[in-house]
């Protein structure tokens, strides 16, 4: 049974004051089990202690919680303080010019939802970046524009501009640029391309690949093998690339043993030889095999030289 019961009357107006028998209890008001009709003017609930507005209903901007700055004007729910939700928040899909999640005073910059399973970002009302359903991040484009899969695609159409710049400033020690980790851990000539080049139409041009020993593959425009050695005295290799050893077969007669073999024997060789920097000798390359070639130093007859180089280009 209710502690206080007010029976409505068919007509009449006035002020009703409810006084609870105790100061802190017995203050429950039970309204009729039906709609409550308010008057034409706004109705305001006040804080009994401070007389500040708690809730105003019926004005142009309904103050849902006036003291906390929570208002609703029929189109915008405004919160003066932070907004926190323990549940999910759902927004409309938005658009390039009007992102779903934007910023006060800058409503054309923010996040929106262009397609299913996709998130897009706009700045200044223009699409700049999106994350596709497969997780690919597209910068400056809405798709990867490639038949190949990728995790990051960056496109620019700017004169004298770059699609990407990697800067690790600057004039200091221990600053590194780009790390590319790709391919098999053991040497192999199979398809592992840390860097692949295409023209503006997307046609393959060339690629560069290295294995775990630093040997490059498929870079037809870079030397696949090179060596510099001293053929006088105790023959000694000064430096080399993709060379496992050098065979001294006699005066001016050497075999360059390639570490990871060439794909075929149609590779091109070059080199030169000098003797104490003053005399030049001819270098002849013969006996091309996939795993080695014969380099001869000729000066009327074979002779030793102290600065001999050999270079091979090819597949």
């Amino acid at each position: 049974m209710a502690k206080v019961k007010i029976q409505g009357h068919a007509s009449g107006t006035g002020i009703i004051t409810l006084t609870a028998p105790n100061t802190s209890t017995d203050r429950t008001v039970t309204l009729p089990d039906a709609d409550v009709t308010l008057g034409a003017s706004p109705v305001t609930a006040l804080n009994n202690a401070t007389a500040n507005e708690l809730v105003t209903v019926g004005s142009t901007t309904t103050e849902l919680d006036a003291e906390s700055g929570l208002t609703y004007d029929g189109s915008t729910l405004a919160v003066t303080g932070d907004l926190s939700a323990s549940g999910d928040i759902y927004a409309a899909v938005g658009s390039e010019a009007n992102p779903s999640f934007a910023f006060t005073g800058d409503t054309n910059t923010g996040l929106w939802h262009p397609d299913a399973d996709t998130i897009a970002f706009s700045t200044a009302g223009n699409h700049r970046m999106r994350i596709l359903a497969d997780g690919t991040l597209c910068v400056g484009e809405t798709s990867v524009m490639s038949s190949l899969g990728t995790s990051l695609f960056s496109r620019a159409n700017k004169a004298n501009g770059y699609s990407a710049i990697f800067l690790n400033d600057g004039n200091d020690a221990n600053r590194l640029g780009i790390l590319i980790a790709c391919g098999m851990d053991t040497p192999s000539s199979t398809v592992n391309y840390p860097i692949k080049f295409r023209d503006g139409d997307g046609n393959d041009i060339d690629n560069i690949s290295y294995d775990s020993t630093g040997v490059s593959y498929n870079g037809q425009n870079t030397a696949k093998v090179w060596i510099r050695f001293d053929g006088t005295g105790t023959v000694n290799i000064n430096d080399s690339h993709n060379v496992s050893s050098l065979t001294d077969d006699g005066v001016g007669d050497y075999i360059i043993n390639i570490d990871v073999d060439m794909a075929n024997t149609d590779y091109a060789c070059a080199g030169n030889a000098s003797i104490w920097t003053t005399e030049l000798a001819s270098v002849r390359h013969v006996g091309h095999a996939t795993g080695s070639w014969n380099l001869e130093v000729i000066d009327t007859a074979r002779r030793d030289a102290d600065r001999i180089t050999g270079i091979a280009f090819g597949d």
């Binding site: 053991t186 040497p187 192999s188 000539s189 020993t213 630093g214 060596i227 050695f229 006088t232 005295g233 105790t234 023959v235 000694n236 290799i237 430096d239 080399s240 690339h241 060379v243 496992s244 050893s245 050098l246 065979t247 001294d248 077969d249 006699g250 005066v251 043993n257 570490d259 990871v260 073999d261 060439m262 794909a263 996939t290 795993g291 080695s292 030793d304």
Partner: protein, 93 residues
């Protein structure tokens, strides 16, 4: 370290590339044995020498040098299938 062997009656000296050696694991002798298996025809008799001990610097009569088998002579062997693939080789030399 060097590998010496006979090649058509003349001494051949195989000089390992320092970068190649640096990329390999094992002892110096193990590295040289692997290079012999890789760069010499299978079945070649050879010896590993220390050029600091065996003087190879005087090349006045280089073409007359001959290989004479010593006590530590070894024979080059086939590479494993894994190594052949590693070196992009289709068969042993």
């Amino acid at each position: 370290m060097r590998i010496i062997y006979d090649k058509n009656g003349t001494l051949a000296v195989l000089v390992p590339a320092p970068k190649k050696l640096a990329s390999m694991t094992g002892t110096d002798e193990e590295k040289l044995i692997h290079l012999a298996n890789k760069d010499l025809p299978t079945g070649t008799k050879y010896e590993i020498i220390d050029e600091a001990v065996v003087d190879l610097s005087d090349r006045s009569f280089r073409n007359a040098w001959e290989y004479v088998a010593g006590a530590s002579e070894q024979t080059s062997a086939d590479l494993s299938a894994e190594d052949l693939a590693k070196y992009n080789m289709t068969e042993n030399k």
